[in-house]
Symmetry: C2
């Protein structure tokens, strides 16, 4: 009990003011009423709306975001049901040992073949703020937050230089988002698909394409992080690349177009090898 | 590669028809344009909309749902940004060793003190369908799907009796949802909060209240599963209850209202002890 009290009194994790309506609605009748109204409205606008939904999904985006109630993916991006495959957890983490996220990415990339992965952080993130406190938020949550503390450590020099606490927190939100975007690149599933689609005639660009964005609940703005992907991935490639650059012969065999294609890509020079990850960004 | 091909050819996990617009939008300009339009519209309707968002979140519902793009929580329930804390993974699983989900539940229950947890499955669920195939969908996804195979096993007698494949799949969707709702009840975090709020004057009912619902993408309907909670939880309580029934003295001490309250709840009779979980449903 004492730990819970400590937790409740921590600034970042303060108990919310309660919106009375849904709390008082013991049976949650509101959501079922709202649902029936939504169905009526959609069918009125488009009588085939749900018939199309019945035929399966073909989302073009995997969204990896925070569980925070103020960050609903579809609304923020103005996209309809059926357009975004979604994973949400505390502080939008992409952790290599997290079977949940790894399964989501595998499904989205290998099965749905999404061309885009959007990893979205947000300012005023309770998880990020909690990770900046010297407080034990008790397991499993505290273990989860440790991944953000690790990101602080990787960027300590930059962060410690920011004297304003709010500004430092905002920057950690951005760096956390970026680090999770890198974590998406690290997965074998994503790298394999990018190798397969690199230079392929069947896709207009290497896929999946990864977008690091941050949402500001205070303004509603969704903005892309300013990243020099080439530079960042060139740095990380030598450690995290799981696939060596493809030889011309292997490419020809894969694409099944005989000798003609074999001549197309110039042989990879040793000096460029470590840049594969970056080049695959293309 | 061969495994991937096997996977792609499996009926439940077939590659989707591609919606061309977002796939062709390499920089995802669409979502940023949509976002700016959304901000303008919200501010036009209510100039303080984002100012309120800036002041933090106080969601009344934790939604645990599938990543499937056709099941966006807010839209289905007609709720606004700020009203639903969301966790989504493949086939809405609640697995005891999943740090991601356990952290989400801990945050939602201990910090946000949500009065409701909605666990939502949906018909035509790719994860559930995949779990009914004798196909190796390769790790980590296949390990993830095993949890649904386990639910099939627990309900084999009922499921094997349903000769129509579609009907059997629909029933497994329901049973999977129910089993994950039980898994929410199993957590110490939820049980502890329910013991704390049981009979408390500060809350109108024992919290969090758990709702098992299924969404039908083919009709848009969100429906509550027909469950005899008391009966189900009475069966499971003796195995999963982590807290013994509270004595009158302990309750008085906890509520800090001296001798008066101590007399209020009748002493728990041994025969009723195993029903605590069910009674706490109240």
């Amino acid at each position: 009990m004492k730990l819970l009290l400590t937790l409740a009194s921590a600034a970042a994790l303060s108990a919310p003011t309660r919106l009375p309506a849904l709390a008082a609605d013991k049976q949650l009748k509101t959501i079922f009423e709202n649902n029936r109204r939504w169905v009526r409205e959609e069918v009125k606008k488009d009588k085939d709306y749900f018939n199309r939904m019945a035929s399966g999904q073909s989302p073009q985006i995997l969204w990896i975001g925070c569980s925070d109630s103020r960050v609903p993916a579809n609304r923020i991006m103005g996209l309809d049901a059926g357009e975004v495959f979604v994973a949400r957890n505390v502080a939008n983490q992409v952790i290599g040992t997290d079977m949940s996220m790894m399964s989501v990415i595998q499904y989205a990339v290998n099965v749905l073949k999404v061309p885009h992965i959007v990893i979205c952080g947000h300012y005023d993130c309770g998880g990020v703020k909690a990770s900046m406190e010297n407080v034990d938020h008790v397991p499993p949550l505290e273990n989860w937050l440790r991944n953000i503390r690790d990101t602080y450590r990787l960027n300590r020099q930059e962060l410690d230089r920011i004297s304003d606490k709010d500004q430092r927190t905002r920057r950690l939100v951005e760096l956390n988002t970026l680090e999770q975007a890198f974590a998406v690149f690290k997965t074998g599933v994503v790298q394999r698909r990018r190798v397969q689609t690199y230079g392929s005639d069947q896709e207009p660009y290497t896929q999946p394409r990864i977008h690091a964005v941050v949402f500001d609940p205070g303004t509603g703005e969704l903005k892309e992080l300013n990243v020099n992907w080439k530079q960042e991935l060139d740095k990380l490639g030598p450690i995290y690349n799981l696939y060596a650059p493809e030889t011309a012969e292997a490419r020809a065999e894969r694409l099944g177009d005989g000798g003609a294609a074999a001549a197309a890509p110039p042989p990879v020079e040793p000096a460029k090898k470590k840049g594969l990850w970056g080049r695959l960004r293309g």
